[in-house]
Amino acid sequence: MFKRTLAWIDQRFPLTHFVKDTAEYGTPRNLSYWWNFGSLAGVVLVLQLVTGIFLAMHYKADIATAFDSIQHIMRDVNYGWLLRYMHSTGASAFFAIIYIHMARTLFYGSYRAPRELLWWTGQGLLLLLMATAFMGYLLPWGQMSYWGAAVITNLFRATPFFGEQVVHWLRGDFQVGDATLTRFYALHFLFPFIIVGAVLVHLIALHTVKSSNPSGLELKQKDIIPFHPYFTIKDLVGVGAYLMVFSVFVFFVPNTLIEAANNIPANPMQTPAHIVPEWYFLPFYAILRSVPDLAGGVVAMGLSVLIFAALPYLDRSRISGGAVYRPVYRAMFFVFLVNMVVLGYVGAVPPTDRTIIIGQVATLVYFGTFLFLPFVSKKEEAFLIKRGLPPAVMDSLK
């Protein structure tokens, strides 16, 4: 019966073909646990979608009732607090996972040919994620929600010629208000589904170029194993470990990720003493503030996110395996990470003379890493070839 049904479907839809293709997807057997974060991002996306839809059943996108409706969810809806804390913690978790996923790509040079499109679709996903998170943050209609949205939409004033109009167009009003809240809500609901679509594109690109691996070399056929059961179970181990970390935040310290000021309803007449974005935007916010000119700051901030797309061309070394065989690239990678933390700190504190200087130095280091990469990677390649590399790596250069 089952076989006949399946045959009937397969004649009309490539179901068996699709399942077989996915299960047998050839995967390098030497992938480390750093390769778990892609599937984890998928798990978090699903959790955000599910909790988000249930939250949407109780949330009111109206400035008169939005704040109260969140409290209604937290207090009166059965397990509403769980939905809300999973969703608010999930936003942070999503960024943490994506940043680790990106750091892994940088460390192992997984962005290089032929994986440019895989990398760029990932970039697009990051931008969509940022937009979704930003709009979602307005919905609780707390003080930080309101002022965060006011500050960020105001940045579009830097648009040449039409600055004022663009800001009003985004807000739907002269100020952040009811029109802004309802449109952010509508888009916050829509964007995750666009993300799901973009994830499919990302996965199709992945299945075309196949997964990279820690050695960076083309593996022999015997070292390629089917995705199922090997990586389904390995990804599940990752999901288990992830859910434990996630649950510590959700059940024991869910408020650490919610600004105190956001427990005060939005008040357009009263600016909070210190407006800070969520932690995942802090480094970019620091870059924005490090440039004294508004337009310059906005351009620098935009560039700081988009510049990753240029990496396949900036990294001119042909040596495989990203940082594995490349000491200079490895040093740059770790300096870049530390620099990110410095920028995050600068973005979090109120600006003083000292933090402004630190922020400007860190911004220079940030862009300097990208600007020097073509030169450094070429020099490093020549040096390493002269000094000698493992035979397999040398062979891959021929």
Binding site: K222, F252, A260, V338
Partner: protein, 221 residues
């Protein structure tokens, strides 16, 4: 070359951090109790003392019953108001505005709505002191319009200070509950979730080892 200014950068980062901390308010980090008795004593303080001016719009009288306040006590507090009315201030907001120059804020979320959270609240309640001119000031929130209701600025000795401190702790404990009424359920459920996930993850690791046995025997690539 890049590594060379990393260390000074990190050092200056931490020293500026220390400076920033000195300039900020030093909050009293006294541990706020979480036991039921303290929360219930705090409920009484809030309903009978704070309630004169402040409301708790997200707490209804029935919630106090759920918390464990005796029925007769809740009935005395609510008067003829139904059980599912929110706790309103006894003084009309307009009268309070006239008397103090500001509408007293709602207390439902007060324990989590200020930087420092419960410690801010406790430090604020305990922060009143007479200055040189003999005026009562609050060191935490200098422009506050609220009088020193607990009387900490006039405490005669340590014993009295301690009694007032205990009251402030109870109030803070109750407002912690009011800000997050499901907090206890959440933590209790969290323990079971953690145990479940821990066992599940161990089993998944074992299962993974079993599936990968043949591949692991192949050694490195």
């Amino acid at each position: 070359m890049k590594k060379h200014f990393l260390l000074p950068l990190l050092l200056s980062m931490f020293s500026s951090f220390a400076l920033a901390n000195e300039a900020e308010l030093v909050l009293d980090q006294t541990k706020i109790p979480t036991d039921k008795a303290s929360v219930l004593r705090g409920a009484e303080q809030v309903a009978t003392v704070c309630g004169a001016c402040h409301g708790l719009k997200y707490i209804q009288y029935r919630n106090l019953l759920e918390l464990g306040v005796p029925k007769e006590t809740v009935d005395a507090w609510r008067g003829d108001k139904p059980l599912n009315t929110a706790m309103q201030p006894q003084m009309a907001p307009a009268d309070a505005q006239a008397a103090f120059g500001v509408v007293p804020p709602d207390l439902s979320l007060m324990a989590i709505a200020r930087e420092g959270r419960e410690h801010y609240l406790y430090s604020y309640l305990m922060g009143y002191k007479a200055n040189e001119k003999g005026e009562i000031e609050n060191r935490i929130f200098t422009v506050t319009k609220m009088p020193d209701i607990l009387g900490i600025s006039g405490a005669a000795d340590d014993k009295q200070r301690e009694e007032i401190g205990a009251k402030a702790k109870d109030i803070t404990a109750f407002l912690n509950w009011a800000a997050d009424p499901h907090g206890e359920d959440r933590k209790n459920l969290g323990i079971y979730v953690m145990i479940y996930l821990f066992i599940m993850t161990i089993l998944l690791i074992l299962w993974k080892k079993q599936i990968w046995r043949k591949v692991d025997e192949m050694g490195p690539v």
